[in-house]
Symmetry: C2
Subunit: 767 residues, 2 copies
C-alpha cells in the first residue's frame, strides 16, 4: 500500500496524511494498557470530508447492557447486548492570534506520526503554517501508562519557528459519548443511546477536573479525572456539563519548546467502591503527574522491556516482518486485560467493533502467545472466565441443561449477548476452547492453587454439557448434533469434526483432571465434587463418550469431513463470484452460503492444529488440499491457521504467504474494517505463524516439540518460550536450531521428533 | 369446558360471562366479510381485572410497514414487517339518570350472546339493573355487510322493563389505534407506534362523520365514515380528533323497544383513489343505512344462503360437531379476502396475531375448502399471489437466484416479513404449496383465462427456483439442501421429504403446464416464454430434476425420513416433559428442540396427503405409526392432517379424536392463544377432516375419488362438491354413499377405487 519503507523495527510510522485512511489508522495508532485504550484520533479533528472516524476512549470490561429487540423472538434467545461504552476523552486545542488550529492539509508540513513499541507512546508531529503567517511546530504525544492501569498521559509540545508571542492551549476532557458512524455492516457494533450514560457528578478544583457517569442498565460507575501541568504559565479552567477545559496562555519564543501535560485517570465501580472511585482516580492522576516526562518515558520503557524480554520475536529479514510482527504483539500487550475481570475483545481496546465483545478468540488465538511469554497474563484471561462461571451455569439452564456450564459465545460481563444463535450460541465449542486453554495452562504452570480457585470447577462444569448435548447412537458412537463449528459459513450441523474432536479433548482433560485432583488434592476434590454434585459415574460416562466420540471421515476422499453433510453439498461457484462480492456475508443471504461448500475460516484444519497429534501427516495434507481451495478467509481467524498447517505439511511458500497476509491484515486494512478496531485474533495469529508455524512448536501433549522450517526470505528467527518455570531462548536459521536455558531447570524438548536436552549452555543442532 | 349444550346448529352462543374468557371470545364472536373484520368486543368495556382484551377492527390487506431491527443483521434479512393496523371502530354508550352503563356483573342479568351463521349478526343481550333502580333490556347487534364489503352495521335496541324516561345513547367512532396488550409470546404480533397512523382529515356533517388516516410507511389511506339513524329523536354530534359521537336522547316507555342504528363504511386507497376514497365510504354507509333492519337481515340471509348452498357440511350427530363445523366454515367465509388483493391471514380478520400475515396456510389448509365450494373464492386467493409476483421475483434476487420467483413466507403486501429465517424464508416449500393450489385450481376449473392473466407465469417463475436451489449429486439424484419443511421444530435441513416431494410435484406441473400452453395457447405460450426468457432446455431440466428427485427413505424402518438426518437424532424425552412445558417453543431454546426427534406439526404426513397417490398404504401406515408419537401438535396445523391420514389407514378412532381436537381448538381455546385471533388453518382443517378425512376425497390426479369412513358416533355426513362446473351432492352413512348431480354434466368419480358415474338421478352405492 502507501507505506514508506519501514526502517525502525520498534515503531509503526506514518509519513503523510490520507483522509481515506484516517479511520483505520485511528485503530492502528491506538494506545492502551489492558485496561484503558485510546484510539489514535487527531486532537483537532479531521479535514472536512474525512469519512467515518471515531474519537473514543474505552475501559476494558466497562459496558452498558441494552435489551435486544427481536421481531420474532423465541425462548432462550439472548436478552441483552453488552456494549463497550466510550468514556470521557482528552484532547488539546491550540489557538494562535485568535486562529484555532485545525488540520487543513494545505497548512500542514513535516507531518509524521508513530507508535513506539518501546515506550508505548503515540507521537504526532507537524508544522502548522498559520494563515496569519506564523509557523508553529506541534507535537502531540499520548500514552497509556504501563505503571498504573488507570492513567493516560498526553503531552503537547510546541515550538515557534518564526515568531515570538502567545499561544493559547486548552486541554479538554470531553464526556460526550461518541460512537461509530452508522455503517451497514453487522461487524460494526451498535450505538448506545445518550440517555443510558447518566451523569452522576462533575467538578473542577485547583488540582483538576472530573466527570462521574453511570451506565443506566449495567450500573457501572466511571470517573475520569484530569489534571494539567505546564512549566511557565497559570492554568485557568472552564467547566461545564459538556466539557472541562484547562487553559494556559503560553508566552513562546522562536525556536524554544513549550509544553503542556495532562494526565487523565479512570476508575470504575467494579474495582473501586464509594469514595475510592473518585479518590483513586484523583490520586492516580496526581501521582503520574508528578513524574517529569522523561521519568515517565523511562518508566514506560522499563515496563515494556519486561514485556519484550520474553515476548519479542526477532526476525532477520528485509520484508517488513520484523516491525509488523512486533506491531501485532505490542497491540496484544495493549489490549489484553490483566485484572482477572476482563479478557481481550475481538477489537482489543481500539474500537467498538463487535460491541467490544470477548469471543473464543481470546483462548484460541491469543492465549498461546501469553502462555509462552507471560503465563501470568494467560492466567488472568482464565481468571476472567472463572469470574463469569456463574453466568455460564445460568446460561446452561436456559439452554435446557440441568447441570453444567455453557459459556457465552460473545459477551463482556458474562451474559450471552449473541442475538443470532446459529453463529452464536450454537458454537458450543466455546466450552472446549476454554477447557483446552486451561489444560495448556496447567501443563505449562502446574498451578494447583488456581485449579482450586475455580479453574477445576470450570473444567468439570463445562465438560458436563457434552453428555447432555450429545447422545450415543445405536452403533455405540457418541454424536453431537445441531451445533455450529468455527466456520460461520456453515451453521447448525451434526457432528462438526472440530467440535467433536475438541469435546473429546475436553472430556479427556476433565477425566484426567478429576484423577489428578483425587490423587493430589483429595480433600479439595471431594469438597468440589460434593459441592457440584459430581458422581464418579458421571466421570466414567465422560470417558466413554470421549472414547466413542464420532469423528466424521470420508473414506473416498480420505479426509475428515467438516460435518455429516458438508461434503455432500455443492461447491461454491468461485469462478463466477467477482472480487467485489467478498466477503460473502455482505452479499449473500446465510441460506445461500450455508448450502454450499464454502468456508469463512479454518474449521477442520484448526482441529488438526490443536488436537492433531494423533493424525498422520498425509491425512493432514489431504485435508489441507481439500479445504483450502474452498476457504474464502472472509474471517480474520483463518489465514494464520492455514499458515501453520501449511508449514507442518511442507507447503513452505504457502506458509509464508499466509504469514504475510495475516501480517498485512490490519496494517493495510485488507478486510476494510480495521476502522472498527484492530483484529486481535489475527495478531495472535502472527505469533502462531512464527512460533507454531515456522518454529513448529506444539505443546498439546504437555511436552514441547519443534519442527522448524523458516521461510526462504528469512535468515533467522529468534524468540523465547516460558514453560514450566523455565525461559528458553531459541534461535533458528535454515541450517541450525539453538536452544539456551535462560532461567529454570533443564528440560527435554523434541526437535524434529528427537529429544533435545535444553540447559544453560547453548545447544545447537543441525536441521 | 363451560359450554352450555349447544342446541342451535346455526349459532355459536354464550350464556354467561367469564372475565377470563373475554379475550378469546372477542375472536370467536368477531364478524367479518372478507374485507372488514370486527372483534366481538363489549361496547362498554369490561369489568376491572378482565385480562388482555383488544377491541379492534381490521381491513384485509391494510397494513403498516415497520423496519425490522436486528441486533446482528445479515445480508438478505427481511427489512420490513407488515402489520395489520386497527382502524377506527364503532361502539355504543348508554346513559340513564346520569349513570353510564358499564358491565358490572352484579348489575347484569339475562346475559347471552350469539354469532348467527345465517345472518352474520353478532347479538349480545342483557338486562341492566341500573343502580338507581331501573331495569333496562339492552341488545347490541353488529354485522359486517355481505352486500357491500365496505360496510358494517351496528344496532342498539333498548327496552325499559320498569320505567319511562330518557335514555341517552351515543354511537362513537373511535380512531385510536388499539393494539394487543404486551404479552411475552412470539405468536402475538407486534404493536404499531401511534405516530405511524397519520391523521389526514376528519369532519362531521349532518349526514355523518368520518376520519381519514394514512399509514406512515406503507402509505395506505383509510377512511371510516359513520352515519347514525334512529326513529324518534334528533341526533346531535360531538366531534374531535379523539372521537366522533352521534348522540340521541331517547324517550323510552316501559316495555317498548327503541333503537339506534349506526352504519360505518371503510375504504382504503388501494381500491379508491382521490375523492372516491371519501365519496365511496359515504355512499356506501348511506346506502346501507337506507335499509330497514329487517331488510338488512333479509339481505344478509340471502347472501349467506348462497354461501351455505355449496359450503355447508351436514352432520347427523349428538356430539356438537354440527354447529362447530359450521362455526369454522363461517369464520372462513368471514375472513377470506375476495378482492384478489388480499388473502386469508393466519388469524383471519379476528385478531392481530402473527401481525395479520398470510402464510402457506391459505393455499394448503383453506384453499381446498373454497375450491370445492366456491371456486371463485379459490381464484381470488391465487389472484392475490399473482398480484405479489413482482415482489416474489425481487425476493428471489435477494436470495441469490438469478431468475425465478420466491414467495414471502409471511407477508401482507408481498414483501418477505419473516425476521427469523430458519422458520421463515428457509421454508422454500411455499413456492410448491402455491403451485399445488394452482394446479388443483386449473384441474377443477380449466380456467385458461386466469392462466393467461398471470397464473401460468406464477407457476413457471416459481418452478425455476428449484433448479437453482437444489443440485444433482454424483449419483444422479437431485437434492435440495438447507431448507426448512413444514415442521418448525426442525430447521434448515437437507432433503426434507415434504419439500422434495412437493418440489417434484411443482416441477412436473410446470412441465405439464408448459406443454398445455404450447399446444393449447401457442401464441400466449411463446409470448410468455419470451418475456420471462424461458428456454425449452430449462423445462427439460425441470423434468430431469423431477424424475431424479431424491426422496429420503429409511430401509430399516421402511418409512420416508423427514430429512437426511432426522431419524439419527435422539427422540425427545416426552416422559420427563410435564404438561406445563408445552408448547415446547415457549419453554425450550430452538437448538434444544432442533436436535431431537420431535415435531411441531405434520410434515412427512402432509406430503402423504397432498402427494401420496403413488405411496402404498402400508408405508403410509408405518409413517403414521412412526411420526405420530413424536408429534406435539404444538402447531394448530397438525391435528387435521393426522385425522385425514388416520382415516385413510383405517385408524377410525384416532381420526375422530383428531377431528374433535381440531374442532375444539378455538371454541375451547385449547392452544391458549385464540385471544390473538382464531386459527383459520385449523378451520380449514375441519373441512379437510370431514371431506378429505371421513369422506376420503382425493383430487391430486385430476379425478375425484372418495373412500368414505364415518366416525361411529355419526349417523350421516352430507356435503356438496363443486368441480369442473358441476355441483355434486354427497350423502354418506355407514352403509351407503349417495351421489347426486345438482348442476352441470355427468361425471365419473371413484368410490373406493371403483368408477361411479354421477348424474342427475341419485346414485347410491353400498360401502
Amino acid at each position: 500500500m502507501n507505506q514508506t519503507p519501514q526502517a525502525d523495527p520498534w515503531c509503526y510510522r506514518e509519513h503523510s496524511f490520507r483522509a481515506a485512511d484516517a479511520a483505520y489508522k485511528e485503530s492502528l495508532f491506538a494506545v492502551g494498557n489492558g485496561y484503558l485504550g485510546i484510539r489514535g484520533y487527531f486532537d483537532e479533528g479531521y479535514p472536512d470530508g474525512t469519512p467515518n472516524t471515531s474519537a473514543a476512549c474505552f475501559l476494558n470490561g466497562v459496558y452498558e447492557s441494552l435489551p435486544i429487540e427481536y421481531d420474532e423472538s423465541a425462548y432462550g434467545f439472548a436478552k441483552n447486548c453488552h456494549r463497550i461504552i466510550p468514556v470521557p476523552r482528552q484532547y488539546f486545542e491550540i489557538e494562535l492570534n485568535g486562529v484555532r488550529f485545525t488540520f487543513a492539509p494545505e497548512q500542514v508540513t513535516d507531518y509524521q506520526r508513530e507508535l513506539n513499541f518501546q515506550t508505548g507512546a503515540y507521537t504526532r508531529t507537524l508544522t502548522w503554517q498559520c494563515p496569519t503567517g506564523e509557523a508553529l511546530e506541534i507535537s502531540f504525544q499520548r500514552a497509556a501508562s504501563h505503571l498504573d492501569e488507570s492513567a493516560a498521559r498526553a503531552q503537547l509540545t510546541i515550538r515557534p519557528l518564526n515568531f515570538h508571542g502567545t499561544v493559547t492551549v486548552r486541554s479538554v476532557l470531553d464526556p460526550s459519548n461518541s460512537s461509530l458512524n452508522d455503517v451497514d455492516d453487522p461487524r460494526k457494533g451498535g450505538t448506545i443511546p445518550a440517555e443510558n450514560w447518566l451523569r452522576q457528578a462533575e467538578h473542577h478544583a485547583s488540582d483538576g477536573s472530573y466527570y462521574h457517569y453511570r451506565t443506566r442498565n449495567s450500573g457501572i460507575d466511571v470517573v475520569a479525572f484530569m489534571t494539567t501541568q505546564t512549566d511557565a504559565a497559570e492554568i485557568t479552567s472552564e467547566h461545564s456539563e459538556q466539557r472541562s477545559a484547562h487553559q494556559v496562555s503560553l508566552n513562546v519564543s522562536e525556536g524554544k519548546l513549550s509544553r503542556v501535560i495532562s494526565t487523565v485517570s479512570y476508575t470504575d465501580s467494579r474495582k473501586h467502591a464509594g469514595d475510592e472511585l473518585l479518590n483513586n482516580a484523583r490520586r492516580s492522576a496526581q501521582q503520574l503527574a508528578q513524574l517529569t516526562h522523561d521519568e515517565f518515558l523511562t518508566a514506560q520503557s522499563k515496563a515494556l522491556r519486561d514485556f519484550w524480554s520474553t515476548a519479542d520475536i526477532q526476525i532477520d529479514s528485509d520484508d517488513g516482518a520484523q516491525y509488523a510482527t512486533r506491531f501485532s504483539l505490542f497491540h496484544l500487550f495493549q489490549s489484553t486485560g490483566r485484572d482477572g475481570l476482563s479478557s481481550i475483545a475481538a477489537k482489543g481496546l481500539t474500537g467498538a467493533g463487535y460491541d467490544g465483545h470477548y469471543f473464543w478468540d481470546s483462548e484460541t488465538y491469543i492465549f498461546p502467545f501469553w502462555l509462552f511469554s507471560h503465563p501470568d497474563m494467560a492466567k488472568s484471561l482464565l481468571q476472567y472466565r472463572v469470574s463469569t462461571l456463574a453466568s455460564a451455569k445460568q446460561r446452561a439452564r436456559e439452554m435446557g441443561h440441568s447441570k453444567g456450564a455453557l459459556f457465552a459465545w460473545r459477551t463482556i460481563g458474562g451474559e450471552e449477548c449473541s442475538s443470532y444463535f446459529p453463529a452464536g450460541t450454537a458454537q458450543y465449542h466455546i466450552n472446549a476452547d476454554i477447557a483446552y486453554a486451561s489444560k495448556s495452562y496447567f501443563q505449562a504452570t502446574g498451578d494447583y492453587a488456581f485449579l482450586k480457585e475455580g479453574l477445576a470447577e470450570l473444567v468439570l462444569e463445562t465438560a458436563r454439557i457434552w453428555l447432555d448435548l450429545g447422545h450415543s447412537g445405536e452403533d455405540g458412537h457418541f454424536r453431537i448434533f445441531s451445533v455450529t463449528g468455527p466456520d460461520e459459513y456453515t451453521a447448525v450441523v451434526n457432528n462438526n469434526f472440530y467440535t467433536n474432536k475438541m469435546a473429546q479433548e475436553h472430556l479427556r482433560w476433565a477425566c484426567e483432571l478429576a484423577q489428578i485432583l483425587l490423587s493430589e488434592q483429595p480433600a479439595f476434590a471431594h469438597e468440589l465434587m460434593m459441592r457440584i454434585n459430581l458422581q464418579e459415574t458421571e466421570i466414567i460416562h465422560w470417558q466413554q463418550a470421549a472414547n466413542t466420540m464420532y469423528l466424521p471421515y470420508d473414506n473416498d476422499k480420505q479426509i475428515y469431513a467438516q460435518d455429516d453433510s458438508f461434503l455432500q453439498k455443492p461447491r461454491w461457484d468461485f469462478k463466477n463470484t467477482p472480487t467485489e462480492k467478498y466477503p460473502l456475508l455482505l452479499h449473500f443471504h446465510p441460506l445461500v452460503i450455508y448450502r454450499h461448500q464454502v468456508l469463512k475460516q479454518a474449521d477442520t484444519l484448526l482441529a488438526l492444529l490443536l488436537a492433531g497429534d494423533d493424525i498422520d501427516p498425509d491425512t493432514k495434507k489431504r485435508c489441507f488440499d481439500y479445504y483450502e481451495p474452498i476457504n474464502t478467509h472472509d474471517s480474520t481467524l483463518s489465514t494464520c491457521v492455514h499458515g501453520v498447517i501449511a508449514n507442518e505439511i511442507g507447503y513452505a511458500e504457502k506458509a509464508y504467504d499466509y504469514y504475510r497476509t495475516t501480517m498485512h491484515l490490519d496494517l493495510e486494512d485488507t478486510h476494510h474494517n480495521t476502522y472498527y478496531g484492530v483484529h486481535t485474533a489475527a495478531m495472535g495469529g502472527i505469533w502462531m505463524g512464527a512460533v507454531q508455524g515456522f518454529a513448529g512448536l506444539r505443546y498439546a501433549s504437555g511436552q514441547l516439540s519443534f519442527r522448524p522450517s523458516l521461510p526462504a526470505a528469512w535468515r533467522s528467527l529468534s524468540f523465547k518460550v516460558s514453560y514450566q518455570g523455565r525461559v528458553i531462548a531459541i534461535t533458528l536459521d535454515h541450517q541450525e536450531a539453538s536452544f539456551e536455558l535462560c532461567s529454570g531447570e533443564a528440560l527435554t524438548v523434541l526437535l524434529n521428533g528427537k529429544p533435545l536436552h535444553v540447559e544453560q549452555s547453548l545447544k545447537t543442532a543441525s536441521l
